[in-house]
Symmetry: C2
Subunit: 489 residues, 2 copies
């Protein structure tokens, strides 16, 4: 196991970086900005994928796969989109290497592409170019497709999971006959994301609409879920975009309606990425390591036998086997750790670091008393429970942990959220972190000024607002309702 | 639905291309050599992935993810590897576009990478560069990792699924303390592939070893599974490589053994790709369309109601609902097709084209007789069965279809395999297709001559051979046993 973590209080950012590496979640690669997702981190991502995929399919979506390469010219077809995405991207210009006279390997100048290819930063362009061939009439609609893929956005300042040049994500791309249907889809998928964040990640989120300046490049509207990290900074955890007819117009995708009229198709797109791993880590973990919600934990229960000699180990194992079988039959992943090169104390620390929700310890005396020690990762609480009915008790504790993590995060967000009514007060409060609910006059100029003055951005115009009218804290102009400000990842 | 397919006899290659597109499996994209995998095709690939992933995990492997970019210099570190892979690959040279004076989008010459990045054609180099940091002692071994990813190998002549510039695959990369262990892993994973091919794809395969000239670039030994397509051409369906210490040496990956000695690590790598989709299609399908083995079919049972008016449809639906629920509870995917814009005949043809294993048709008269019509896609057989016990009967038919597809493919391979003893006879026989078992003197020169003369390659030196010694059909020199020749995809 690795060295003790820097504490969150001492240096939150350092704590995060150390935790990601020491808990074996991910590491930087030698390729600038690209990460390696290690098996333990990938196992959590697989759990996320599997649950999200299930929810996408339950809402009628199918998976498909589109090319990683986007011809340069596609990027320019939607004016706003190219501004947002074409700038920092990986460009393929050649398709062959050759051995030079000195024996080194060089790019073959004869193998230059006629048109450069961009590694997809997002796939709207190539997908809408394809949908043109798929859609003729209203009978071809809706198209409800999702893609699991890697994407690349060249980033100079990267952080594991939070901001990397290459990352993994899913991107939904849907096509509809009406504006209303496309908007309903956009909202439905935001709800799916919010449900996933709250029920599975145990991470409360605020649902809302992005301001025009924070909108996806090419969207008419961007909906988002915003979470609050333990350092008081916000993190955008998922977005769902109503694309209007922008991409349909850019790629000439029309359909014949029931009445014979010809119209452009309406669209949505929506995505979440490996960034959720960063959100998960920063929502729950502490100075001892990760805290994983049981719904996404690769190991639910770690069992550490306390023994001397093979014989004691064998008798512990024999007594635990029925319980292990019972836990597995209940769908839980259990690790019985009989590695004799490591001491129990080392193992306890390791499972704490890895965020395993429940740890059992069992020694000879426990066996004699027909009991085991159960430790909760979320509260640190330890107690002895009877071997009889232990499976049901452990399942109940796991449920409690899932709930407790969510409730603690809700509590923290509540403490860190407040209404602010003057700009002076805002400037003081923003230093303390958290969500600030304040009035804003609705103009990009004021938004920009606040950002420049305080580094705070409008995270969203929340759906759930008390609809309280007021006046902008900066300009005194009328405001339709409070919006959510925070400094953000 | 699309037009009638070209028959296999008329033009096998055309039949294949039409089938892939008309059955909605995949299509060419506008990006040269890259395919779009459509939802129905992707659903089959997901079934393959899910089963393979399960088998990998059951044999102790974990998934992880490594960067898509490989620094150019990594490619040159293993001499044989660079020869094999560095030549036809996508090269990223820049990381930014900019808007030119005329408003067009161009590559920004100021954003040139110091070192070009290659899109991974396979990941040995970046993974072994990483393993150097993961492995110090024997306690860190073995490392048993798999990655699901997209890879790019620039191809000029592409065919959907069989040969595309970008394709999806999995690549296992393992590290071991001993040569024996690495070899055992290499064999184990070939067995996993063979079991998957035979039990799930219903595709018989020959297991064997590649000759030196057909070996993976950087391997000491390449094991493979070879399947026979209906046109008599062979298809390499999966490979598992014993890499010796080649990559460990190229990337300086050493470990301290139990005895304190320091040695290079031993390695294996193994992969299968979306090429399996092509193999699946060409093993079973016919002039009416796909034939999918139930183990990989996205839809197991399609139910076509034969009715006039809403009332009849409702009564059919009501009677079928319990059966549908029963089938679903048995883990089957069922589609009740009540689309009233299409006629039953059209639907029958559509499900044939899509390879759905079992089709049920049910009309008013059937209801009166308490029966349904069941049609098997593999044999075309139609008969009436009682509604009572229909679920069990359908499950049994699905099992029969899975077996029958495999047995038919075994039968075809048997008919298409023969021993050949003279080179003249070989030249005649190779024109008829199939596997030819012949003696070869073991030299690359003779292998090359046969390839140049006949376009036939040695598919493998089979594990199961009758160990019959003989003399090379070309040179008359001694041969240790027959090897398998074929023309191949």
């Amino acid at each position: 196991m690795a060295a003790k973590l820097t504490s969150r209080q001492e240096d939150y950012s350092k704590w995060y970086n150390e935790l990601v590496v020491q808990a074996d979640l991910a590491q930087h690669s030698d390729v600038k900005g690209c990460m390696i997702i290690k098996p333990y981190g990938y196992a959590i991502w697989e759990k996320m994928q599997s649950q999200l995929d299930k929810m996408f399919k339950e809402t009628g979506h199918q998976n498909a796969y589109f090319p990683i390469f986007i011809p340069k010219s596609y990027m320019s077809k939607e004016a706003a989109h190219v501004e947002g995405f074409a700038k920092e991207c990986a460009v393929v210009t050649h398709y062959r290497l050759k051995t030079a006279e000195d024996g080194s390997v060089v790019v073959d100048p004869d193998a230059k592409l006629e048109e450069e290819l961009i590694i997809r930063p997002t796939s709207e362009t190539i997908i809408w170019n394809t949908y043109r061939g798929w859609i003729q009439s209203y009978r071809d609609l809706p198209i409800l497709i999702n893609q699991w893929a890697n994407v690349v956005r060249w980033e100079m300042r990267t952080r594991l999971f939070l901001r990397t040049a290459e990352f993994l994500w899913q991107e939904g791309h849907t096509a509809h006959a009406t504006k209303e249907e496309a908007i309903a889809e956009t909202k439905q998928m935001l709800d799916v994301y919010a449900e996933f964040a709250e029920k599975f990640m145990a991470m409360p989120v605020i649902k809302g609409t992005k301001t025009a300046s924070e909108r996806f490049a090419g969207a008419d509207d961007t909906l988002c879920i915003e979470a609050l990290m333990q350092d008081g900074k916000a993190l955008q955890a998922g977005t769902s975009h109503f694309l209007g007819q922008n991409f349909a117009k850019a790629f000439d995708v029309k359909f014949t309606g029931k009445d014979g009229s010809i119209e452009h198709v309406w669209a949505s797109s929506w995505g979440v990425s490996t960034r959720l791993m960063g959100a998960l880590i920063m929502t729950h973990s502490d100075d001892q390591g990760l805290k994983l919600p049981p719904a996404l934990a690769p190991i639910h229960v770690a069992i550490v036998p306390i023994y001397k000699g093979e014989e004691q180990l064998a008798s512990i194992k024999e007594r635990m086997d029925p319980l292990i079988a019972e836990l597995k039959a209940a769908g839980l992943t259990v690790k019985f750790d009989d590695d004799d090169t490591k001491k129990p104390g080392w193992k306890f620390a390791e499972y704490e670091l890895k965020g395993v929700p429940v740890r059992l310890a069992v020694g000879n005396r426990d066996l004699a008393n027909n009991q085991i020690e159960i430790a909760r990762r979320d509260t640190g609480e330890k107690r002895s429970i009877s071997m009889d009915g232990a499976c049901a008790e452990i399942q109940s504790v796991l449920d409690q942990i899932q709930d407790n993590l969510f409730n603690k995060a809700i509590e923290f967000r509540k403490e860190s959220s407040r209404k602010v009514d003057s700009y002076d007060q805002f400037k003081v409060e923003i230093e303390k972190g958290g969500f600030l609910f304040a009035h804003w006059d609705g103009t990009p100029e004021t938004e920009e000024k606040i950002k420049n003055d305080t580094k705070a951005t409008i995270r969203c115009v929340p759906f759930d607002s008390d609809d309280e009218k007021g006046t902008c804290m900066v300009t005194g102009k009328p405001s339709a309702g409070r919006v959510v400000f925070a400094r953000a990842y």
